[in-house]
Amino acid sequence: MNLGLDEHVNLDSLFHRWEPRCKLIGLIALIFAFSFVQDLRLLPAMLAITSILYALSQLPLSFLLTRLRYPGYFILILVILLPFLTGTNILVHIGPFALRQEGLLASLLIITKFVSILTIGLVLFSTAPFLTTIKAIRSLGLPSILSDMTFLSYRYLNQIGDDLATMETAMGLRGFRVRRLCVTVLTTLTSLAGTILVRSYERSERVYKAMVLRGYGGSMPLHDMFHTSPRDAMILGGIFLTAVGFVIVELIFRGLGG
């Protein structure tokens, strides 16, 4: 099973070369700054910064569009409903429904923030191998239990996913078709889920024994050393200032009465 995240890690952009810990701090600050924005006047700037950063990352546009598709459906539903449900200023009547100004503007805000945050998130996580990013988070202070669990879960996710696919194939080859919801189908599916749990549990016991035999005592060794160069720090400074800029302008707009 191919989770497809590390597809574009071998490109050579500014972001690919940026030291992972600085990248984490800088882009997460930017993401939260975007999430702080409520004033519509900042939206064009948000989109501009997002587009520039994505372009700089050299990630393909098709990648962004594919990744936007699935979560986009959920947001779309909300965004279509809001303009008809919230607000008191009615702009226009469409049949029995009234399109309201506040709802429309709220939708605009939500969708812009959503797309921007998701895009920056892709830049953050797709420009370095997933495991490197986890190591960076660990080196910034994540408790070792959490990082160990993340490593191991990720390592076995593909395998367990393959197990499920193979089991479903084997069931299909014995004539199983999921059509209606009845007791038999539910029994089969719960047995399938239960079997996946049992197999994973028993596999984990073997994994633990193998780890202990190689000296595991409760925390996996951290051997990736991260070095921050002056250039990395400068880029971090730039991104951080941008984030702070957004927050300050937003506060000013709020102070002025929006």
């Binding site: 945050i117 191991l152 029994t187 599916l189 996946i196 409760g218």
Partner: protein, 212 residues
């Protein structure tokens, strides 16, 4: 159940992260009190992946199909590990599948993780006042699964309704709460049934998985 980015105010997202931090701290404390914490880590890790994968199983509800959340079952099987497990699962979903959100990771962890811990407590009640039996496992499994989903849905709903732009008039607000609650009742029954049946399966095949 997963709240995406862009909807909640930054203050709520940050509060979510703070609360998750506290909840994680307490969960890890409880985990370290057990006899052999390192042994639990591979188990919890692989079970995290297993639950992630198990939620991909399609349950047919004509004309479509649904994926279950299984946070109740996760609480039943993992006990205190349920919270870090859900946190990690949500992280994977946000980063690998763009499902859920990065700013809302903390909030989503509370929304799904607290009910999971509650489900684990509910399930533990089956041991009280009587010897172990299939009926008890089934009943408490059902309750754990149903409440796991129900409370998560309620949290998510209340959060969305009270933080979305407040031009919403009271009528619409009330109506949507009722409508969405109603929509979740059959799902609660389904999750309850699924959780009960898996619990019964595990009791037969690998009872130690139910010790949490």
């Amino acid at each position: 159940m997963h709240i995406p980015d862009g909807i909640l105010p930054a203050a709520v997202s940050i509060a979510g992260y703070a609360t998750t931090g506290v909840a994680t701290y307490y969960s890890l404390r409880k985990i370290n009190q057990k006899e052999n914490p390192p042994e639990g880590i591979p188990k919890a890790s692989l079970l995290t992946s297993a639950f992630f994968v198990a939620s991909w199983i399609h349950i047919p509800i004509p004309p479509t199909s649904v994926h279950l959340v299984l946070n109740g079952l996760l609480g039943v099987v993992l006990g205190y590990y349920a919270f870090p497990s859900i946190l990690i699962g949500l992280f994977f979903q946000a980063v690998l599948f763009q499902h859920g959100g990065l700013t809302t990771l903390g909030v989503n962890a509370i929304v799904m993780g607290m009910p999971a811990l509650l489900a684990s407590f509910i399930f533990r009640l089956r041991n009280f006042g009587g010897k172990e039996s299939q009926l008890r496992t089934g009943i408490f499994g059902f309750l754990a699964g149903a409440f796991g989903l129900g409370i998560a849905a309620l949290f998510a709903l209340l959060l969305l309704i009270y933080t979305i732009p407040t031009y919403l008039d009271v009528e619409v607000e009330r109506a949507s709460i009722y409508a969405l609650t109603l929509a979740h009742l059959p799902l609660m029954v389904l999750e309850g049934a699924f959780t009960a049946m898996v619990a019964l399966f595990l009791q037969r095949v690998k009872p130690e998985l139910l010790e949490g």
